[in-house]
């Protein structure tokens, strides 16, 4: 196969560690027009962050597409109400675009609140709302006054930046709720879990750890989320923020407004999960029993998963992994987790990493690892083949590319079906990676059949 070329202007976003080019990642740029980018928009960022709040109304103000494509696509589980899994849209038509959609929005909102009695309503502005100039804020104020529930505009017009700007818009909407709590008094030994969305039930695992440590979880933002719980967030003494910055903006605002400090953690992999829990215990050092319980918890949890990890490691040692994720923070954890099961990372990329992120990534990776920002499918395919990867970790659009190349795949995005967080999540991850990498099917793939280096179980 002829070598795949890369866009000239993309050369500053692709580096090979230890290569001849100096490492100077040009990231946080808008994607080039015409690039087959794997990135999404502002609306997408807001939608994924707020979506798990299960007792709120999520109304999408715009033509139908934005509502259709985001109808129940994220496996964010709820232990109670499931209003978030319905799809509500003002379904703007041509006449609305000409005459404005405010009237329609107001009618739709009133009708929905009347019928479903949600605890709050989030109104997502899509591209077109920003152009036709609907005063969504005014409609929200009016409906809030009439109904008495928080009606909150989310300024997520798709073109107003990247997915990251959508996270910020979602944080603004969340902060709108948080500020409604009058004179919050901090509760002892209490935290908020931020940036954890309960995909596959992950929130429940993390919450269990904290409870075992004797920590009071005030609210989870937004996994298995409830309006009332989010509103109470300012009564916690620490914000523990997960995920690459999707909810960091909220933590910063809460620090400024209430003086609540925050720490950034990851619950992925043994190392990072332990680190997260120890750091929280460390924060509450005035209560030494917390650290004691934390040690005991981690010891027991690690003991439980290690034998399983050792088993899969036998088959996976020396296998090569490529990963392309949304935020770079997740990539750090994945690299450590892959090391735990003996795999080498040959490609690491992210959609939204910052230059500090990429510097960390570079330091974590071995020589020869390709590091890229905002990659396109051709680049991903090129390096997967050149580096002879055995596994790809990515999201929905990367999955079929990995399979076409005849290698294993693990979804580490919205479509993961089993929890990958925490200690048991690591065991699940190892099992999933093992299943896909050692599947006998790859021995039948023409490209790999001739030079298969693997220990496929099919042999």
């Amino acid at each position: 196969m002829k070598s795949i070329s890369v866009l000239k202007d993309r050369k500053k976003q692709i580096f090979e560690k230890g290569g001849s080019e100096p490492f100077d990642m040009s990231c946080e740029k808008k994607s080039l027009a015409g690039a087959v980018s794997q990135r999404a928009c502002v609306f997408c960022g807001s939608r994924v962050v707020l979506y798990p709040i299960a007792d709120a109304l999520h109304l999408i103000h715009g033509p139908i597409g934005c509502a259709s494509y985001t109808w129940d696509i994220r496996g964010a589980l709820s232990s109670g109400p499931e209003l978030h899994r319905m799809s509500f849209s003002t379904d703007l038509s041509e006449t609305d675009v000409i005459y404005g959609g405010e009237k329609k929005l107001k009618m739709a909102l009133t009708e929905l609140i009347d019928q479903y009695s949600p605890k709050a309503a989030f109104i997502y502005c899509t591209c077109i709302v920003g152009i036709i100039g609907d005063d969504v804020d005014a409609v929200c104020r009016e409906v809030e006054a009439a109904t008495g529930i928080p009606v909150i505009p989310v300024h997520s017009e798709g073109f107003k930046g990247t997915k990251k700007d959508g996270y910020k818009a979602a944080c603004d909407a969340l902060f709108n709720l948080v500020r409604r709590y009058p004179n919050p008094e901090p509760k002892p030994l209490s935290i908020n879990i931020l940036g954890e969305f309960n995909i596959g039930g992950e929130t429940w695992i993390i919450k269990r750890y904290y409870e075992a440590m004797g920590i009071n979880v005030v609210s989870v933002i937004t996994g298995d989320g409830r309006v009332e719980e989010v509103t109470r967030a300012a009564t916690a003494t620490l914000n523990v923020v997960q995920c690459s910055g999707s909810v960091t903006h909220l933590a910063k605002m809460m620090e400024e407004e209430y003086g609540i400090p925050y720490i950034r953690v990851s619950y992925f992999g043994i190392e990072d999960t332990s680190d997260a829990l120890y750091r929280v215990a460390e924060f509450f050092k005035d209560a030494p029993e917390v650290m004691e319980k934390t040690r005991e918890l981690i010891l027991n949890e690690v003991k439980a998963v290690i034998p399983g990890l050792e088993t899969v490691k036998k088959d996976l040692a020396g296998k090569r992994a490529a990963l392309y994720v949304g935020g770079a923070f997740k990539a750090f954890s994945l690299i450590k987790a892959l090391k735990t099961i003996g795999m080498d990372v040959v490609l690491a990329g992210s959609q939204t990493g910052t230059s500090e992120d990429y510097a960390i990534l570079r330091d974590m990776c071995a020589d020869g690892t390709v590091i890229l920002d905002d990659a396109n499918p051709l680049e991903l395919a090129k390096y997967v083949m050149e580096k002879n990867a055995d596994l790809f970790i990515g999201g929905v659009k990367e999955r079929p590319i990995a399979y076409k190349l005849g290698i294993g795949f693990c979804d580490h995005n919205h479509e993961r079906k089993i929890p990958l967080a925490g200690f048991e999540g690591m065991a699940n991850f190892a099992r999933e990676v093992h299943e896909t990498v050692t599947s006998p099917i790859w021995d039948l793939v023409p490209r790999r059949a001739n030079k298969n280096t693997g220990k496929g179980n099919g042999k």
Binding site: C41, E94, D96, V445
Partner: protein, 458 residues
């Protein structure tokens, strides 16, 4: 109960869609464009549109779906997207080297008033379109019509922006298959060829969205109608458009502009609609129906007669796209089933009218709505329960909550395979539909039968 919120009291909703039975134009345009060989679809709008369409198509086909985007910024939405599109065209040809780019618009670029025709001309004049390469475009505002409209618009564009009339007949027939699966396109081509016609089938996503695993990744897989074929559509003997909403615009435009006589038929779903399609092909080819096809028809009839007692009188709820629902309703009626609730999200008065005509002779009430949504369908079902639900993947909520036998049919199907590989058009496709319907109904009989009535032979 996931849809615990569905109540039985049906109110007219004028400003609200709940659980849509449609999506927006651009994804249909993207799907159509993927049916041209060597084509990179291009979304002229924000980055998210393109990402969502690619994700949805990827989930439905489980294949890589390639498309580029103009990546609108706040600046482009104030000053217009011309600079983005011209740069995009340049970048795409330089890097990905497709044979053509098929640009579709979005609600954003339409509302700010971008004239894509003019922008493409500018790109050509500026030398951004290399010799022998092409750019076609379609206007597909998301606030008009549905995904079907977008498919129709792009299909029309690919015909009229390439077609030429040399005055010399190519001896072929243009067949526009409609918004159907790659497997259906293969079947439509086979039937056309069996009847002795040489088809130019466009768009043709077979080979593109149901390709083999080779261990290599190709951005432009082997399938798709070629540019030379599209150019030649103006020299064809005639055109047949299958599915009025998706295909009529294209064949009518070829008729008007290039005097290629056209006929518009229903999608060949079920016995009677396939009969009409075969009859049209037979007349066009001036042949009698070959024995192979007569045999296929006979087999379909045979299976229906073998199993009609399981189908007779069963009430069915349907959600989907108008072009599919019309012949599907007809098919169900011919088998003695009762399609009682029918909804599409796609706007257009013709749909309700056709369904009403088709069902006026029946001795039961038929609820039909276009545009409607899945919430309304569910309310109808709650008021008047059914024995079978046929809908896209979003039907699974209703099927689960009300414990209804369910056949996945339509777009998108995000949780099962098969649609890309096994057709539901033609007599053979009819067999597949019946198999699926019977499996659903008879599995339910087995599940619910008391032990003494649980039967081996059915």
């Amino acid at each position: 109960m996931l849809l615990r919120h569905t109540n039985t009291e049906i109110k007219e909703r004028s400003s609200l869609t709940v659980n849509p039975a449609k999506t927006c134009q651009p994804i249909g345009a993207m799907y159509a464009a993927l049916g041209i060989h060597g084509c990179l679809p291009h979304s002229h709008g924000s980055q998210g549109c393109c990402a969502y369409h690619r994700s949805t198509l990827t989930r439905h086909y489980r294949e890589p779906v390639m498309a580029a985007t103009s990546s609108f910024t706040e600046g482009s939405s104030v000053f217009g997207g011309q600079a983005n599109l011209v740069q995009a065209i340049d970048n795409i040809f330089t890097t990905y080297d497709p044979d053509l780019i098929a640009v579709h618009t979005t609600c954003l670029s339409e509302t700010i008033g971008d004239d894509v025709n003019q922008i493409v001309s500018k790109a050509v004049n500026d030398g951004k379109v290399p010799e022998g390469k092409h750019v076609i475009h379609a206007s597909t505002p998301s606030y008009v019509g549905s995904h079907i409209t977008g498919f129709a618009n792009m299909t029309k564009s690919m015909a009229i922006q390439f077609a030429q009339k040399t005055g010399k007949s190519n001896g072929k027939f243009n067949i526009v298959p409609g918004f159907v699966e790659p497997s259906d396109m293969v079947e439509i081509r086979r039937l056309t060829t069996e009847l002795g016609l040489k088809p130019i089938l466009f768009p043709d996503t077979s080979g593109v969205l149901n390709g083999p695993l080779t261990g290599k990744y190709s951005m432009f897989p082997k399938g798709g109608v070629t540019i030379d074929e599209l150019k030649s559509t103006g020299d064809s003997i005639g055109s047949i458009g299958l599915g009025p909403l998706a295909s009529a615009d294209a064949v009518r435009a070829l008729d008007t502009q290039f005097k290629v006589p056209c006929q518009v038929l229903d999608l060949p779903i079920g016995m009677l609609a396939t009969d009409r399609f075969i009859d049209t092909l037979r007349t066009a080819a001036g042949v009698s129906v070959p024995d192979t096809i007569t045999k296929e028809r006979g087999m379909l009839l045979d299976v229906i007669s073998d199993m009609h007692q399981y189908l007779y009188g069963k009430k069915v709820a349907l959600a989907g796209d108008p072009d599919h629902l019309i012949p599907l309703t007809e098919f169900l009626i011919t088998m003695g089933m009762k399609p009682v609730h029918i909804v599409t999200g796609t706007p257009g008065k013709a749909f309700e009218k056709r369904i009403k005509e088709m069902t006026s002779h029946l001795d039961y009430e038929v609820n039909v709505k276009g545009p409607g949504d899945m919430f309304t369908l569910h309310q109808w079902i709650k008021n008047d329960p059914v024995d079978l639900l046929m809908a896209n993947t979003y039907g699974k909520y209703i099927a689960r909550d009300d414990d209804i036998p369910y056949v996945r049919y339509g777009f998108p199907i995000l949780d099962r395979i098969g649609h890309s590989y096994f057709p539901s058009v033609g007599y053979q496709g009819g067999l597949r539909l019946i198999e699926k319907i019977l499996d659903a109904i008879m599995d339910r009989l087995d599940r619910d039968a008391p032990e003494e009535k649980f039967e081996l032979v059915m």
